[in-house]
Symmetry: C2
Subunit: 418 residues, 2 copies
């Protein structure tokens, strides 16, 4: 269980995978490590849903109460399984550590539950089928909280089992990711299309320089659902053209990576205000070493000169946040790394450092390549994190358009410069 203070990431992946097999997620509850409240939420969820998934609270510590809460909600006993304790002890021994006594709490299993082995951590999961709460019966899955443990257990053990129990109704989802457009402008453009349909349901979510349009169709067959998705998504893709960077859920850094690979090109970066964020996003993609050579975090002016060859007199005359400096940074990174393309970012991320002529959020983004260098100026709004995110997004989109616009598949046409 997450406390009310903690970011939840597990439910995203779970929801997507449940949708794929026709299960709608109608609600999510987040409660703290409190036995009665946990028990209450389990009861409430069982009264409303046929599938209840609990994540977290299976660990060794005193505040891990999910086992006790579910047992109480079901009126069942907790039974100690010595073989689980033994396996845990062996796991610790392999890591040359002695197991702490508290870990034995993880060996308690609810009466009638099946044990789900945990390949990536210590807390085993539990699968319980119950019939007492509603006519249709229900399944309770108790999964560990750490995302990498939960994901492996759900995908390999729970999902196959769940699929065998479900009727053949499908939910199919299609996502379009759009860069370089505001939310209300986008909605005004596409609402006349999607408003005609109740199914698929259309959701628009806006991030920093990034909008996700999600269509969700519910049909008896996959073919039917896919046809319905195309009916809505087709005209919208035509309206948005190359502002769509992805049709399949790929992030913009994945799209840029694929375009670089296809072009046999390499990339380097020069970052000032983003301090490594652009490199971090690019290298978050597995296999990025195929096209990403590296980069320069030139936070100080001295390093802009030393590492990238930005002339000190240029910095003095125009300031570090300026068009010529962005250009010189991109060209310096390209020259010094030997990459095909180089992206450079220099801006004022705030909260301090803004002036009347150069307010917080002012950012210059340079792209150097074989055909020369271009620089775009942007005025971003928001706090430090949002301005940095915006800047890295616009940089990635600038390169995407240079490399030929497309997401994968339909709709996208031609290259364009921002």
């Amino acid at each position: 269980m997450l406390t009310p203070e903690r970011i939840d990431t597990n439910s995203l992946d779970l929801t997507r995978q449940l949708n794929d097999v026709g299960v709608e997620v109608v609600a999510k509850y987040v409660v703290g490590d409190h036995l009665e409240r946990l028990e209450g939420v389990v009861r409430l969820a069982l009264s409303r849903s046929q599938i209840v998934i609990l994540s977290g609270g299976l660990g060794p510590t005193e505040d891990d109460l999910t086992r006790e809460a579910v047992a109480a909600a079901l009126g069942r006993k907790l039974i100690y399984h010595p073989e689980i304790a033994e396996a845990l002890e062996q796991r610790f021994a392999r890591l040359h550590r002695k197991m702490a006594e508290v870990n034995k709490r993880q060996a308690f299993v609810i009466e009638g539950a099946e044990i789900l082995p945990n390949e990536r951590g210590t807390a085993p999961g539990q699968w319980i089928e119950v019939s007492s709460f509603n006519a249709a019966g229900a399944v309770i899955m108790m999964l560990p909280g750490p995302p990498h443990e939960l994901k492996a257990m759900f995908e390999r053990q729970c999902l196959p089992r769940l699929c065998r129990m479900l009727p053949p109704q499908v939910i199919r989802v299609r996502e379009l990711h759009v860069a370089g457009m505001g939310e209300s402008d986008l909605d005004q453009l596409i609402a006349p299309v999607y408003k005609k349909y109740g199914n698929p349901a259309t959701t628009i979510l806006a991030g920093a320089g990034d909008i996700q349009i999600r269509f969700c169709a519910r049909c008896a067959t996959a073919d039917e659902a896919e046809a319905l998705l195309s009916e809505v998504s087709g005209p919208i893709e035509a309206l948005l053209g190359d502002r769509i960077y992805s049709h399949n859920g790929d992030s913009i850094e994945q799209v840029v990576g694929k375009l670089l690979l296809a072009a046999g090109a390499t990339l380097s970066v020069a970052e000032s205000c983003t301090g490594g964020l652009l490199g971090e996003r690019l290298t978050g993609v597995a296999g990025s070493s195929e096209y990403f050579l590296g980069g320069f975090i030139t936070y100080s002016n001295a390093l802009k000169t030393e590492l990238l060859g930005v002339p000190p007199e240029m910095l003095a005359e125009h300031g570090a946040v300026s068009k010529p400096v962005a250009e010189a940074m991109a060209e310096g990174a390209r020259r010094r790394s030997g990459s095909t393309f180089a992206l450079a970012i220099t801006g004022i991320a705030g909260p301090g450092g803004g002036t009347d002529t150069k307010p917080v959020g002012l950012t210059y983004i340079g792209l150097a390549g074989p055909q020369g260098t271009e620089v775009v100026e942007r005025q971003f709004l928001g706090d430090r994190a949002r301005i940095r995110q915006f800047a890295s997004q616009v940089a990635l989109d600038l390169l995407r358009r240079k490399l030929g616009a497309g997401g994968s598949g339909a709709g996208a046409t031609g290259a364009g410069s921002a």
Copy 2:
């Protein structure tokens, strides 16, 4: 409203601030853009709580249904306010854009609600006091979804108003942040202390190389709460010593920044597998340009040689993921940037690239400084993102210990090398 697929970040900050003024957050509900379900959740929340905060769904698009849902739950009308539409039009004009017609949806206000102006976005919030659902009456706050808009509106407009309505009961929270220890080892060490207390409530949350211990005390006065917190936290701080890096919620990058500032020292980084993450974390702290000079993202071997002077024969003999290369990277970054200290990370983040002798997760972290260079070897478990997060955390902790261990305040003693 968030769809069930979307990460929620707003509730963390809200919960913390509500706790600070004595309001306990007992539950969080996440539902999609669906009018009846939204209405149902508003009714449910009103039946259980005196304060109901809704975030999101106030935007211009068709799927923004919070206004309609709350109006339906309360049985009140929505009233069009032309002055809101006019202010929106002026806002767009200032940005040299024409307002899309759909934005006028944002000018609808629930009968009897007070309008909360939005300083950072287009959607105004609403504040509604109701008495019909329970004896004590209730307050409904409708806030915009984007975090920077919500935060400003809540802190500046809602919180002060709320404080005037609340009885003088306080919740005080203290957090300890610990690096370099596993969750179960930590719990075994400190459980004998905190288990004796129901108040404060103790929560332990583990991240990649990072554990947060949170004590939450509820008392009639702030003094009483603080005394109770010290009673529990004191002995635990003594047990954990310099493994505690922060006593006040500061992140490890903030702690490192303060230690560097205090020492009058500067820092540079050399990153291979983390690709910019370490620099990104360090520069996420406002004012980091005071001590962070910049860095080198040397993803390719050629750039390790070219930018950091790592000898090609060393790379050939030991491989890029090795102790000597981490050492050479750290020393190269320090030399080329002229910084007091330099941190270097080279490792195998996976999922590919592992071998029998060098498995995925093997990472070397180097720290070069005026007294020489040290390198630590670590074997991290988890996926690519987790291994990278772990590596950056251990690097920051290595420097923290070199600079004199301490978080701010109590307990921490002496420097130590990991």
